[in-house]
Subunit: 389 residues, 2 copies
Amino acid sequence: MASTSQLLSLDKMIMNSLSDKELLEYNRIHYGRCDHNEIEIKRNTAELATKNDFEIAAYDFPTKKEQIRSPRIVRVGVIQNSIAVSTDKPIADQRQGIFNKVRNIIESAASEGVNVLCLQEAWSMPFAFCTREKQPWCEFAESATDGPSTLFLKEFALKYGMVIISPILERDDIHGDTIWNTAVVINESGKVIGKHRKNHIPRVGDFNESTYYFEGNTGHPVFDTKFGKIAVNICYGRHHPLNWLMFGINGAEIVFNPSATVAGLSEHLWAIEARNAAIANSYFTCAINRVGTETFPNEFTSGDGNPAHKEFGHFYGSSYITAPDGTRTPGLSRVKDGLLIAQIDLNLCRQIKDKWAFTMTQRLDLYAESLNKAIKHDYEPQVISNKGK
Amino acid sequence: MASTSQLLSLDKMIMNSLSDKELLEYNRIHYGRCDHNEIEIKRNTAELATKNDFEIAAYDFPTKKEQIRSPRIVRVGVIQNSIAVSTDKPIADQRQGIFNKVRNIIESAASEGVNVLCLQEAWSMPFAFCTREKQPWCEFAESATDGPSTLFLKEFALKYGMVIISPILERDDIHGDTIWNTAVVINESGKVIGKHRKNHIPRVGDFNESTYYFEGNTGHPVFDTKFGKIAVNICYGRHHPLNWLMFGINGAEIVFNPSATVAGLSEHLWAIEARNAAIANSYFTCAINRVGTETFPNEFTSGDGNPAHKEFGHFYGSSYITAPDGTRTPGLSRVKDGLLIAQIDLNLCRQIKDKWAFTMTQRLDLYAESLNKAIKHDYEPQVISNKGK
């Protein structure tokens, strides 16, 4: 499904073009550290990746030892994947195709000791919301508790003692068969401990998701798992700093951002937003983007003056992980399926809060008061006129 | 004052290392556009810059024409400068030395038709807060209305019909001789139309500013000038997304971020934060950093376990401007004084609000309510336990 004319990776292009000395400066200024602290992948895992044509990369974030608290080392993994069979096939086949390819990636995550694994937004289906067609796409919607995607992943969670976050299209048959964009959190015993519904729904380009589902009603939950306090900011929520903030206020140490976004729209924003959130909130962020180009059976229009088309554009992958100190990993490929792993110490969050003091200097009381005024329909903005002395 | 061992510019290093084809991809993904739309500098301006050893660069942000509104083209300029004479000289001499070098840069801004010009944080003094010494540094504090810096700049504002933002150390003799970190806004008639006081004060590294002044009490004013609605987010306020947000809510079209920050602390965050703010709030941001290395007469300590020292570290300049669509200019030098100019159309702000719809999808009412709860001392975070089904 990958278009071969696409650049493979911006990071690799620069890595191959700069001299060793230049690269040190680039790494220091751009990634925030001279050394990526790459972790070697086991031979059998690497072979599995090669055989199944996905990328695998792992990086360490070494953290200072504390006197009182023991290190809380966690291996975080994120998966980016293209779809497996064409979108005109029966939806059960489309889903099974994705299950088959993702199975291999999960196996390799387990082989590398991943503790918390997150998949991309609506991972078990094509990102069909561009079409504005209700059928057959709404049939991908499934129960958070016992839908096919949850059942599929629960097995791995239990088998490998791994927390898995599964962003799906959810069907809520308790509340009028409503549809939601939802992340299901499965714990290391294979139990669903809760879910989060996407808080902010796009109205931009081909992202016609507001045709299918509404703004989430689950607030900003933080899941207190065996491997740290985690939260999920789904896709377009990454454009909203307040969404990131509330997960921080609720104590998140890792916030996953499962996404689906395309070149030509957002690629120059991709390296900025999830990273800014890590900095502003002193937590780890994991930005995950779908990969590949998806084509749909019927033409659709995106209201941009271009002719009707069947292709959504290129999902550019480039998933990456940022630490609370703003340092980050290189991104995964722009075109290939991949697994990105980071070994992190959750203690770094509080260390950075102590260092930068953002949670103490942020003056939340001032902003609570300001926002209360600002939401009034007759709010008068604080504007200073051009008269002067 | 510039250390010669420093890298001149990350942007230029990459520009010189990539092939033309690679550079197109880098520009597209990193800056958000393949072409920087560089504006040619007039010969006499360029000569002035060469003679006085400062950099000058100008870029255009072409914007779609609308049917009803005429374009609102504005030239924005930002100045980064090192200090002029050593910090053991009389403070009047130190200030006059800076005036002398900044005069040339303002003249060249006028020559290039700059309408709104912003200087760096505490531009007319060394960034002496690292020392924690009250004398002589507090003597740099001056009246916002008629202190030396304001009087110096009012002349240029009137002469060139230019709005000038002057970030200074303010002395408020009406309120108990208090000291503030303040940006003074002078309009195109040379009149002071208002001021903004820094909202968030750092407690990190050598940034001992909380010894000298407190959190600002001027809210989030937007100045309705002849050349657009402008606001000022001073330095450490850039780490706080809510600070940026409130300027946006109050209608800002351009937000300046006059700063003073050093390599080893923040350089990997520099390209992220002001740019993220432009994206999240659909306005232009201008990130301005001091440049050069400043040495002080007496040793001070920064509490990082290193020996006492007299040098603050390297202010890495790298000032840059971001448009509401997230595209940005290359940065100025890491070591030289400089003037960066952007020709912008303020209409782009609303065009991007229409395109991305962040101001409609941001659910401010939800966050006003959430923050009101969160500021309570007995707030109970929304945490989901690890029990499951």
